[in-house]
């Protein structure tokens, strides 16, 4: 198809504003899927996504629209994830588009993520089509939301589409707006082939599969291609378009979106953000996009140290689908060999952990997550530390810097007081307040990242009856009075339980952490002392009383089989325990900090 008849776009929205529902309607209206294929929210197809109701991975789907002007258009809808942890994936999806539908809930109005998505879209020079969704709802505040959007985007009221994705209202207008308002791609069809990889997946039978946006020229089956970053060449086995499944075509040309299979076996060879060219006609790399930067780090260890190789293989596979995931080997005195894994945020960490356990059948111990620190030593060296155990001795530290984020909290004005209090507890630095309209405000705050990675989001919601929304981006490293809090169990420090905290919060953390551990560590054959320490100073202590009695009163003929079966079952439970010297610690204990109130 010639580029004039192609439109590449995304739908961007704050969580739950109706992106997936709108995508469903577009797929239906363009008859891309038969009604049978039509499930609710077809674009979310990973199990976990469904359960969590969050679009995690970017997907693409091609549809054809017969426009009012009588012409047929190819639409490539590129899905984007909706959680702040994944904003880098939004930016890579946007790199493949010329425009985006900005969906805003008619009841909720503009939220923090709406704004950050707008900024991302602007950075990528995308044309935005504002869409107010859920106009069918009785509580819809269409006019107010219109004003918010006019303010935010500087658009006219008539440019704003009013839609109910659920009721199918305004869908036709939306499709027409895509044709008339989103620019067509402007690559050079006659130039040397260049395409951007904006996603990748791994297929057990086909190997690594790239999702690409062709910028210039064309690619056809059998072409020898080159990945610019590695310089490696492959022969394309198959190219095609993505609908619900892969549909092979002979060639893809400038402006189009599709997939490419090239017998790429090594998981590391397909790098999202990389440029593909023809092997004989190399061209300049396309501008990639911001590399995802892990913000949160934690140790991931196999419960059974024999499973280390399997864990490595699982991480390698996961990484292909998830270029934001990074890891390197780590060894802990307490937990043995494992990996230090970097995540985009806590949600990302949970998802990776769940995928490893569920899809790759790994039994894992995950340690307390932390951010990255810059440690300036007295000898003038600077160390970047993503693991509390790597912190040099206090005497050698001149100062420590921690990452600080720039954030916006969008909230109905009545909750400002609560939220300011929360911000203060989290060492927030107030910047300013702006009004979206008479009743909604945006609070600008700077926070140490470490203060928001645990339960900030939940607290934010509970302080605002669920109304406030939050988004952030990295700002800078700043000096802070940080100390290492150690946990000692029966007098021995457990490296995997150490954490870096602000000095003023050390006492509070120490006592909360020790009492949480007391709940989580089962009674043993002897008393277990749990202490929290700053250097050699003990700041909190508690203990787990020894187990006194565990015995079956009767054990005769028929009881014996039962007894053995029970032992076997309990043995399995014990295997999920980690032996630290003489003490058994359950896996969850290493994440105790996440469960602290």
């Amino acid at each position: 198809m010639d580029q004039k008849h192609i439109r590449n776009f995304s739908i961007i929205a704050h969580i739950d504003h109706g992106k997936s529902t709108l995508a469903d309607r577009l797929l239906e209206a363009t008859e891309t899927l038969t009604p049978k294929e039509m499930r609710e929210q077809v674009l979310d197809n990973m199990d976990l996504e469904r359960e969590r109701g969050i679009t995690i991975k970017a997907h693409a789907v091609t549809m054809y629209h017969q426009a009012g002007n009588g012409e047929r258009y190819q639409f490539n809808l590129i899905d984007t994830p909706g959680h702040v942890d994944f904003s880098y994936e939004v930016s890579r999806s946007l790199a493949a588009c010329e425009g985006a539908l900005l969906v805003v809930d008619a009841v909720q109005g503009v939220e923090a993520q709406t704004m950050s998505n707008v900024y991302l879209a602007m950075e990528n020079n995308l044309v935005l089509i504002p869409v107010i969704n859920k106009i069918d709802m009785a509580s819809a505040r269409i006019e107010e939301v219109e004003h918010q959007l006019m303010e935010l985007l500087g658009v006219d009221e008539k440019d704003i589409l009013k839609v109910s994705a659920r009721e199918g209202i305004g869908i036709r207008e939306t499709l027409e707006a895509v044709v008339s308002r989103i620019p067509c791609p402007n690559g050079n069809p006659d130039a040397a082939f260049r395409a951007l990889i904006f996603d990748s997946t791994f297929d057990f039978y086909r190997g690594a599969i790239a999702t690409i946006r062709v910028k210039d020229g064309r690619v056809k089956t059998g072409d020898a291609i080159r990945f610019l970053s590695s310089g490696k060449t492959f022969e394309t086995d198959e190219i095609g378009r993505l609908k619900l499944g892969r549909f092979p075509v002979d060639n893809l040309q400038a402006g189009e979106v599709g997939y490419l299979i090239g017998g790429v076996k090594n998981l590391k060879d397909i790098k999202v953000g990389d440029t593909i060219t023809l092997a004989e006609k190399p061209a300049d790399p396309l501008p990639g996009f911001r590399d995802p930067k892990p913000m949160v780090f934690s140790g991931v260890f196999p419960t059974d140290s024999d499973d280390l190789t399997e864990l490595r293989a699982a991480l390698e596979r996961l990484q292909l689908n998830d270029s934001a995931l990074i890891y390197e080997p780590e060894s802990s005195a307490a937990l043995g060999f494992g990996f230090r894994v970097g995540f985009l945020g806590l949600l990302h960490m949970e998802i990776v952990q769940e995928r490893l356990e569920r899809e790759y059948n790994q039994s894992l111990i995950t340690t307390i997550p932390n951010v990255e620190y810059r440690v300036f030593c007295t000898d003038g060296k600077m160390l970047v530390i993503d693991n509390p155990t790597a912190l040099p001795p206090v005497m050698k530290i001149d100062r420590i810097e921690e990452p600080v984020i720039d954030s916006q909290i969008v909230t109905p004005s009545e909750f400002v007081g609560n939220l300011m209090k929360l911000a203060q507890e989290r060492r927030g630095v107030y910047k300013n307040t702006t009004y979206l309209d008479s009743s909604r405000v945006t609070l600008h705050y700077e926070f140490p990242l470490a203060e928001i990675i645990f339960d900030f989001y939940d607290k934010l919601k509970s302080s605002s009856r669920g109304y406030a929304s939050f988004d952030y981006e990295f700002l800078a490293f700043r000096e802070s009075d940080l100390v290492k809090l150690d946990i000692l169990i029966n007098g021995d420090p457990v490296d995997a339980l150490s954490m870096i905290v602000h000095r003023e919060k050390a006492w509070e953390w120490g006592s909360k952490l020790t009492s949480k551990l007391r709940e989580l560590i089962p009674r043993q054959l002897f008393e277990v002392a749990i202490q929290a320490a700053l250097g050699s100073k003990i700041i909190a202590r508690t203990n787990v009383k020894p187990l006194r009695k565990n015995v079956t009163a009767k054990c005769y003929g028929g009881d014996i089989t039962r007894k053995r079966k029970l032992l076997e079952k309990q043995k399995e439970g014990k295997k999920r325990m980690k032996q630290l010297g003489k003490i058994e610690i359950p896996q969850e204990a290493f994440l105790a900090v996440l469960k602290i109130e």
């Binding site: 054959l525 009163a553 054990c555 003929g557 028929g558 089989t561 032992l567």
Partner: protein, 367 residues
């Protein structure tokens, strides 16, 4: 040596804490059961021909409800059907209230040489809580009659750690017990399951839940009290005078073979274990049709046997050969350091505090 067990699934009335296979007596069913046990004996005998038995145990239920003549008939049948060692131990379980003087004499004549009586407590309110048919006076009378009728080797069963029970209450029962010339005492710490009436009462809070601390304390008091009276604590819940251990039960703990007859009974050949259907009518029906009343079986792997051996031997004063746990020296050290076990010769033997933790320790030695 092997043991022969006969399960007698009848009681006067079901006790509220009981999860054994037992039903209230019905004379027709009892007659059918007797026929069925005889039939099962004939069915099983060929397989067990080569094996020499040295104990016979009538358990239940309440075997003392049986007519002594029927017991005599069964003993006759068994002696003709299997090979026997000299002086076999022949035990019958009995409940107070089912033991008249003449019945006792007839059981003795039938060949019963060891009686095990379900006294449970010498305190009326405890017996009521347990829903027993007898009161304390009846318990004492029946014991007195037992000794009068000439039984010498007598066990009494007790239950302690009851809701509301104090150490003084329990001492009172134990004191009365040792006033009789008992050769053996079984003292079981109360455990409950939600399936029984008493269990439900405890879990719903209707009666006070016995605490782990009190139960442990009573356990320790029991062994020191009985030790002073020359009772050896030879298994977690069992105490005996010198030479008066229950040989039948010891067979279970040593891993000896046993043949179980009657509903819900288990048999073990040394490699294979199988068990009978637990419903009495179903048991009778199957034997009536000439079928083996088996409801399940398992063949033990080497590892299964290891697990069982560890779990069972740890429960006895003989302990466990150290050779069996060579790879667990770390754990053993922890046990020793914490006073839960000691080494005797080449065996690991649990202390009284260790007995209280036997299941936990077994688990650690088998992981």
């Amino acid at each position: 040596m092997a043991g022969l067990y006969v399960h007698v699934p009848f009681c006067l009335k079901k006790c509220p804490y009981c999860d054994f296979a037992s039903v209230p007596v019905q004379s027709d069913l009892q007659a059918e059961w007797l026929q069925a046990v005889r039939a099962e004996t004939v069915l099983r005998a060929p397989d067990w021909k080569p094996i020499r038995f040295d104990t016979l145990y009538f358990g239940g239920g309440t075997p003392s409800l049986l007519d002594p003549a029927d017991v005599a008939g069964l003993i006759d049948l068994f002696s003709g059907s299997f090979q026997w060692a000299r002086n076999p131990e022949i035990t019958l379980e009995a409940n107070p209230g089912t033991l008249s003087g003449s019945k006792l004499r007839d059981f003795r004549k039938a060949g019963i040489n060891r009686l095990s009586i379900g006294i449970q407590s010498f305190r009326d309110e405890e017996l009521q809580l347990l829903g027993r048919m007898h009161d304390a006076a009846e318990a004492e009378n029946s014991l007195a009659r037992t000794f009068e009728s000439g039984f010498e080797n007598v066990n009494a069963d007790f239950i302690y750690g009851l809701p509301g029970q104090t150490p003084a209450h329990w001492s009172q029962t134990l004191g009365k017990a040792v006033a009789f010339p008992l050769t053996h005492i079984s003292a079981y710490c109360l455990t409950w399951s939600g399936k029984t009436e008493l269990g439900r009462k405890i879990e719903s809070g209707e009666v006070e839940k016995p605490s782990e601390a009190v139960q442990s304390d009573l356990f320790l008091r029991t062994s020191s009290f009985l030790a002073e009276r020359h009772f050896q604590h030879y298994e977690i819940s069992n105490f005996s005078l010198e030479g008066r251990r229950c040989r039948h039960n010891e067979g279970y703990w040593k891993g000896n073979p046993y043949l179980g007859l009657g509903p819900s009974s288990h048999s073990f050949t040394g490699r294979e274990r199988y068990w009978n259907v637990s419903d009495t009518r179903e048991y009778c029906r199957m034997l009536n049709q000439g079928l083996r009343p088996c409801s399940g079986s398992e063949t033990l792997s080497r590892n299964d046997i290891r697990l069982e051996t560890i779990a069972l031997r740890l429960r006895t004063s003989e302990g466990l050969p150290l050779a069996m746990i060579q790879n667990k020296t770390d754990f053993c050290k922890v046990f020793l350091e914490n006073g839960l076990a000691r080494i005797r010769g080449d065996r690991l033997v649990l202390t009284e505090n260790g007995f209280l933790m036997a299941d936990e320790l077994a688990l650690r030695l088998t992981v």
